[in-house]
Symmetry: D2
Subunit: 179 residues, 4 copies
C-alpha cells in the first residue's frame, strides 16, 4: 500500500502548514498525532518538536507511515498501533495534540482536556465532525477558534491557468489553560 | 457525443442561476449566448427572454445543444454554428449577451459595447480570461462588477457529510448606458 | 428601521438566485418564506409563484418587509407576523418552503415533511444550524443535498481589482416524495 | 503608526504559514522580503533562515517593522528603506525571495530570475497582480505553481459559530533551476 492509496491520503501541504502553525510547537514539546494516517503531519511536527507519538489503530496506516517516516530521516517519531484513548490513558505528559482521525472524537477531546494539553488541533472534512469538535470543546471550556480553509491549485490549460479546488477543511483549535 | 463529453461540460446549476440573475432578463429581450456549448445557459435564459441566439463555432457543440434544447421543449432558441464576431457584425438588436467561450474575447466585448447591449455577463474559469475581461471592460467604460464563485457540494460518506468543491468561476458583468 | 439595519440584512443577490433556483418554483405554486426578514427572497419567489406567505415573528421584520414588498409592486405576497409552527399547523396546502430563520428549525422541518412540501430550502450561516438541518432532514428521510457557497465581490483599488468575500452560506435542500 | 494602521495590515497567520512553507527555507539561507510592510513575514522567515533582508520603500513601513522586529527578539533581520530593484541590483547572493508588494513586479521578478534565486513566493490580493506574476514567471520559464487561498474564521454568535471570511489571496511560486 502506498501513501495515496491509504484512505484519506496525505494531508495537503497547505493544510499541514496551517495546522502545524496553529499548534505553536516549542523545541522541547512532546506531541501526539492521533490518527496519523500517512505520517505527513507527524513529520512536519517532528522538525520542531522534541518527540512525536504517531498513533493509528489501522495496521495499514502504520505500514505506510513507517515507510514515509523512514524516508524523512527523522528519528524522534514513535509509531504506535493502538486505540487513541488507550494510548492517552496510559501516556505521560503530552504538550500538544493533532487529531486527524475522527473516531471517538468527543472522548479523545475529553482525555486531552484532562491532561491539560496546551493546544489541540483537529482537522475535519465532515461538517458533523467539525460541529462535534466545536461543541465538545465549547462544553469543555477549551474552544479557541475554528478555521474553514479552501485551497485551489493552478492547473495548466494550454498555457493558461485555471484553479482546481482541493477539498475544503475545517481546522478546530482548543487551548487548555494550565494551572 | 453527450453533454458531459463536450469540452467544459454543462454549466453548474448554481453558476447558471447566478449568471442568469446578473443578466437581468426582461420578457421582451433578445439575448445572445456566445459559446453556448451544451445549451444549458441558453435554456435557462429562454425561460424568460423572448428570443435566444445560441452561437458556437464548434459543430459538436451545436449537435449536443440541438439535442438538449429539443428535450427542453422551448421553441425560442435559434442555434447558430458561426464565429461570434461574424454573427455580431450582422445581427440586428441584441439586448443582452452571455459569453461562455473565451476565444477572441476582447473583440467580442468591443462589438457588444458598440451595439450598446444592456448587460454582458462573461463566465471565466481561466484567471487570464477573467483579467482580460475586466481590463477590456474597464477600457471600454462598461465594467460593472466581477464575482468569484466557489460552490461546494455535499457528498455522503457513511451517512455523514463532506463538501466537495466544484471548479471556482469568475463572473464578469458589463453594462452599457443607452443613449 | 431600514433593510440594512434589520439583523442579518437582506440576502445577497447571488445567494438568493441559487436558493430560488433550488426551490424549482412552478407558476401555480404556493410558497412559504419562513423567517422572511427583509422580504428580499419573498419578492424573488413571487415573480414566479402564484402565492407567497412571508412569515416572521419579529414585528420589525414585518415593518421592513412591508415597505420592500410595496416598492416591488407585487401583490401576491401575504405578510404574516406569527410563529412559523403556528402558521404551518393551521395553513392549507404549501408546495414549497424557504427557511431563512433558524429558530425551532427541527420542528419546522418536521411540520414541513408532514405536509409533504415538495422542496424545502434552508439557508444557514451557522455551522450548527447547517448540521442540524442536515441531521434532521436525514432522520426524516427528505435530505437531498447541501451546498456551501462562497461569493467574493470585486472592489476597485486604484483602478485595479481585489475580491472581497461575502459571508459564506450553507444551503440545505430537502425533497418530499408525494404519495 | 501601528501595525493595523499600515496600508494592507499584517499578513494573516494562515497566509503567512502557507507562504513560508512554499519558500522551503533551509537553515543557511539568505532571504529577501520585498515590500516587507509590518515585518510579520520577515519574522516568520527569520525563525529558520540565517539572514533576512526586509525591504520597503515606505518610511512608515520601516518604522512599524522596526518596532515589530524589536519585540520579536530576533537579530538576524536587516531593515532596508529602499527601492526593491536598487537593492537587488547591488545585493550579493539571495537564496529565496518573498514579494508582498506589487510595485514594479515584472522587473523585480526579472532581477530575481537573473540572480537564480531558488524560490520566489509572491502574495497578491489583486487579480491583475496575480495574472502579471503568473505571466511574467511563465515568460521567464520559472513558473512553478499558483494557489488561491480562502480562509474563513469562526465568530461567536450567541454561543453558536459563524465563519467570516478573510480576503482571499493568490500565492504565486517561481523556482529557478541552478546551474
Amino acid at each position: 500500500m502506498t501513501t495515496s492509496e491509504l484512505k484519506g491520503g496525505p494531508t495537503q501541504p497547505e493544510i499541514c502548514a496551517v495546522a502545524v502553525d496553529k499548534l505553536g510547537i516549542r523545541p522541547g514539546d512532546t506531541v501526539a498525532d492521533i490518527g496519523c494516517g500517512t505520517g505527513t503531519v507527524s513529520i512536519a511536527i517532528a522538525r520542531t518538536a522534541q518527540r512525536v507519538y504517531a498513533i493509528d489503530i489501522r495496521p495499514e496506516a502504520i505500514t505506510v507511515a513507517e515507510d514515509t517516516i523512514a524516508k524523512s530521516g527523522l528519528t524522534n517519531i514513535t509509531l504506535i498501533e493502538d486505540d487513541a484513548c488507550s494510548f492517552l490513558q496510559e501516556s505521560e505528559r503530552i504538550d500538544l495534540a493533532f487529531v486527524g482521525g475522527s473516531k471517538g472524537l468527543p472522548r479523545i477531546l475529553l482525555l486531552l482536556a484532562e491532561k491539560r494539553v496546551r493546544t489541540i488541533v483537529v482537522n475535519a472534512v465532515l461538517i458533523e465532525t467539525a460541529t462535534s469538535a466545536i461543541n465538545t470543546m465549547r462544553a469543555l471550556g477549551i474552544f479557541a477558534e475554528a478555521i474553514h480553509l479552501q485551497v485551489s491549485r493552478s492547473h495548466d490549460l494550454a498555457g493558461k491557468t485555471m484553479f482546481k479546488p482541493e477539498n475544503p477543511i475545517y481546522i478546530i483549535v482548543g487551548r487548555c489553560v494550565s494551572y
